[in-house]
């Protein structure tokens, strides 16, 4: 039977320290609940930090890689999905997740938020820049939710499932 899959999306390159810390906490909380963590699979930024957190709690980590091989894969990924299709894999990330948590602001992350809304998926915003937050709130979408901590985001995800 299909497990609960929580997608954690966020900057790979040049993440803020705070993004990484929250992502790590998200990973731990997801692992503790025996949910599956789904990320973009790479060994950098929010993807890597969330994967580390989940693996420390024996959570299962699915990494949907943009590359055609595993050379840039996070060491904490249990199940690499090797797409070889670059950023087009962002759509797979959102379609495969029951709920998406967007941790931090970046072009790739924002593309995932938008693809999620297009696909009718709930998105929980965490640690977004003020400008991104103002904009995303202005969309007045029932699918956009806002949390102020990893714990609140997970509680919110629980309710949305």
């Amino acid at each position: 039977m299909a497990k609960t899959i929580i997608g954690v999306m966020g900057p790979g390159n040049e993440p803020e320290e705070k993004d990484l810390q929250i992502a790590y906490e998200l990973g731990k909380l997801i692992g503790q609940r025996s949910w599956v963590l789904l990320t973009g699979g790479r060994n950098v930024g929010v993807m890597d930090a969330a994967s580390l957190g989940a693996s420390e709690k024996d959570g299962l980590v699915v990494g949907v890689l943009p590359d055609k091989d595993r050379s840039r894969m996070s060491l904490h990924v249990d199940i690499p999905i090797v797409t070889g299709m670059g950023s087009a894999r962002n759509n797979i990330n959102v379609l495969s997740s029951d709920v998406i948590i967007a941790c931090g602001t970046g072009a790739g992350t924002l593309s995932e938020i938008m693809l999620a809304l297009k696909a009718g998926k709930d998105v929980i915003l965490l640690n977004q820049s003020k400008n991104a937050l103002d904009f995303l709130q202005s969309l007045e979408s029932d699918l956009v939710h806002e949390a102020s901590s990893a714990y609140e985001a997970i509680t919110m995800a629980e309710r949305l499932l």
Copy 2:
């Protein structure tokens, strides 16, 4: 030799009247210049209006369809690229365009703007909502440009090529 390809992206469903009018003008200006117009290929909204404009000026229209067949294709598409991959085709739209013009605001369009920035492509904004514009300007990206008319957008594209 590769022709100049201008991608015009914008809302398919529930476009504003003004989006359609500008898209139609963009299409005409692109056709007049013997550039190729690239759109999402469907028979609705900005895609359809731009395609009509270009075809009226004997411009070539490439439609990158999300569907697996041509059933929802604009009648003004000359070259349908049938992807069968839904919104993941948005990444193909931006990778294949020399310059992207985003006409109007919507989740799909915003995903394309973000994928374009991620891929290092120039994006010209036209007729964006105030909130979207404020946000996109706040990114302070050299790739983001702003135009206030179809003609200005095309002149800008000319410079960027």
Copy 3:
């Protein structure tokens, strides 16, 4: 750390009874070894039979779905990867698998065998039609292997890992 992933590919529609039986055995043997089974994820044919076998042995089942939702998903899939990209997902199936076992003959399955060879992946053939087998052997590829039972295929996979 990345788990071992074995892809089992085979006809979805109109499988032979023997395909289903071997696929079910493959699933059980994969589950027993704590490997991950990867299939095309649908609730028909070889995909479904292999998934049932693996789930009976508490193996983890990843289903890489062609559809944009889970409506045609096998009930035995633990981790649905929802691609929304039709047969283009066949390439993800092969890139994500450590070894591919092709059980039975069909156009989709043969496309996966060819994509696997193109990507340099080992393929174990099981229960192929005489014509398919003759042809695949004629390729004289080091990547093509032939087994005559589920057990032999699994032993072969073990050596190839």
Copy 4:
């Protein structure tokens, strides 16, 4: 209005001299008919030879590239579709073509033949190896056709449109 699109598929690497010659002739015949030639877009093998032929007759050439940029593009491509998705773009090649002509034998080409049959598209075989031909004929598919020259293939395509 959608133009007629003929897909010419064949080996990129290590093509036989005869493959290249036939591909070049196919390109010329396609260009003469004002059909659009669609290929995998790269600057090698059958793709390149067919593109050269079509461009010599002022035919329009669409190249659906596997890469994320144009660095390996044939110089004879007019409209590059940049997919960045590797061999997964093979499915776009077949879905976008009205008829597919497979010129020469190779793993990539065979994956395209199989994806075409899966999608219900007509495929004309040219210059296939004896083994490939025997196998493809054994499928007894109404979609599989066999030609012995570029001219015959084009005449056949004309009938199938």
